[in-house]
């Protein structure tokens, strides 16, 4: 047991349960230090319906603006992935009315040209870099917009694989671009039009259609419970 006692991680924040003062949408509250922003909302008795989704940093529902003590810089975070600290001030971003273009991805004839019809504002980027600074996923959004415009769809699709569609890049854009939506279109076009069709997949689909595995299926499905268990054990 003595050994067990040495295997304890120090967590001063847990030992000395400290309360900090934070501001939620302009109103002061006391909450335990180090809890997440979303838990701070619950702690202060607020019902959360809009503003919470996966709680794992993937869905972008909890996009939040925050500022730390005495710092004029307003930053962005995902509320489920950010710990509160003393003097912090935050507000959850309301849904932003960005325009999403509608398209049938499969029937596009010239996806790189179509970008300018679907999102005519995309080439109007004025290089202010606010979108990149606003991205809680640390994507170089501005670079992505330019690459999209110049037709480098492959790079855009790779850069935006981390995008959780929180939309924080959109309200800051002085050219009214919704970079996440542009990137989503570009990534889908890259996948649907500019990526090689996997031959092995076509072969497997045909094999299944042609009944290549039927004999094996018949054998397996005719087995009794014990035979099947024994057979499973042989699969390595």
């Amino acid at each position: 047991m003595a050994q067990e006692d040495t295997n304890v991680i120090d967590q001063p924040e847990v030992l000395r349960h400290k309360m900090v003062t934070i501001e939620i949408s302009g109103k002061k509250y006391e909450v335990p230090e180090g809890i997440t922003v979303i838990k701070a909302l619950w702690h202060t008795g607020q019902e959360v319906v809009r503003g919470a989704g996966c709680l794992g940093g993937f869905c972008g529902a909890c996009a939040t603006y925050y500022r730390t003590k005495d710092d004029p810089k307003v930053r962005t975070c995902l509320a489920c992935q950010m710990a509160v600290e003393d003097g912090m001030s935050f507000t959850i971003m309301p849904p932003f009315p960005a325009r999403k273009a509608l398209y049938d991805i499969q029937s596009l004839k010239d996806p790189k040209q179509d970008l300018f019809n679907l999102y005519p504002e995309a080439p109007l980027c004025r290089n202010c870099n606010a979108c990149t600074e606003a991205c809680p996923q640390k994507i170089d959004v501005r670079e992505g917009v330019w690459k999209a415009v110049f037709g480098d769809f492959k790079s855009v699709s790779e850069m935006f694989m981390d995008c959780v569609m929180c939309g924080m890049c959109t309200p800051v854009c002085i050219a009214d671009i919704a970079p996440n939506l542009v990137a989503l279109y570009v990534s889908r076009a890259q996948g649907a039009h500019f990526t090689e069709k996997p031959q092995g997949l076509e072969i497997r689909i045909k094999e299944i259609q042609d009944g290549r595995f039927n004999d094996e299926w018949n054998k397996v499905l005719a087995m009794n419970e014990q035979e099947l268990a024994d057979h499973c054990a042989t699969v390595k």
């Binding site: 349960h17 309360m19 996966c54 694989m161 959780v164």
Partner: protein, 533 residues
Amino acid sequence: MDIHALQQIVHQTRDARRKQTIPKFSPADRDQLIHKYHPDYRTSAYRPIRFGPNANDKTVVELAALLEGDSSIADNIDLAPHYTTDVLVVGGGGAGCAAALHAHGTGAKVILATKLRLGDSNSVMAQGGMQISVAPEDSPVTHFLDTLKGGHMQNDHELLKVMVEDGPSIAKWLIELGVLFDRQADGNLHVKKGGGSSKPRLLTCSDYTGLEIMRVLKDEVLNQKIQLLEFCAAVELLSDDHGHCTGAIFKDLDNHRHVVVAAKSVILATGGIGRLHIQGFPTSNHYGATGDGLCLSYRMGAKLDHIDTFQYHPSGAVYPEQLIGALVTEGIRSEGGHLVNANGERFVNELDTRDVVSSSIIRECEEGRGIRTMSGRVGVWLDTPLLDAEHGPGTVEKHFPAMMMQFERFGIDISKDPVLIYPTLHYQNGGVKIDANSETNVKNLFVAGEASGGLHGRNRLMGNSLLDLMVFGKRSGLTAASRAGSMPQGKLTLQHLQRFRAEAKKHGSPSGVISPMILPAYTRKEPERTVNG
């Protein structure tokens, strides 16, 4: 002790461990381990359900209470429909989107209702990948056998055969919609090996597989202009004189009004139950994972299957506090990450099935070989830096950008330091019993995805959930849509609820529990008056 000091043993023993091979358990040892340590076998956590289609079957107490719970809907509510549709899909995750898109594709009128936003789901968090037998040395039959073995031979054979055989055409559909799966140099799909699988079979989009699929499916639902009812929580189903399903009642969470939808068929794609925190476990699940579909179907007379078994994912974060319960993807172990106890020893083959690995972690911790945190949690190390040592610097960052970022936000570099993990409540293995078209024993009531049961047996294999969602989402959507043309809209009544209430009354005093739960009660009711120094 300082966390870095405790981590040293992992660094010190790394080279020695790399030379070690840990054999998988024999079937007998594996059964013994699971029976002793897996939470599914903690009998005190279970009780029989008192009435309904699964009367006397045992399940966890948290779920039993909800299944027996009463509806929030009064018998005399006005059932004049606000909306009428051919197919009503409840749930906006992977199964819901797949169902809506396929039903819409046949020309049927579709409404998709979800209690949060379109896409807010567990699907979006799936990191490990999607199992589809595309490799030449693999086959649907091998996929079938691996899954059966992982499910303790309890899987429904018909559902399973359908899933593994539909898999490749699902991959094709997703690729045509623009999903960017990882590729090999020759353009073929890259496959990774997952726990419990004999062949590499996981299709991945780095560690964002679920997010990538959901970004595309959500976008497609919007492009197809499928009618959405967001922030609308299903609170009751509707039935006709024959007991067939004919629609649902929702509560609009913005204005608290009831919304009645008449539908020829209803597809419940409402997901799992992690937010019930069964046995006090933290969870990897999304905010809305409260088992709503189970309660709604159960009141309607649908039979549940394997409702006593849950998946505790081996690697939920234990430290830092803010990430408790969050998932550390199994992909780390797929690429060779070791599980290491406080003595610096490995104790399980890391690629064994999830139930085996979780049980062994619980064993290590219960026998005093875990690492504890001051908040009273315990865990073992997952040696993430090993991946850089094994495959070259930058491997962790390149293959697991989502994980890197999640821990980086709290000042932890998982490519340099191991992470502390313990099993987290991850998945509901069972659910509403369905047939190969995803229909329940209640006519015109379909259930797809995690809310359904039978396919995975008593333990779901890694990567089979994303495929389940797509295959049974599609099948339910196509079957429901195909009926719409030849079927009139049935009457809207609450006869099933009256029957259920009568039965509940026979079984004693009401518990006062209202189900479905809709959202977990995390909001603190009583503010603290004093500040602890």
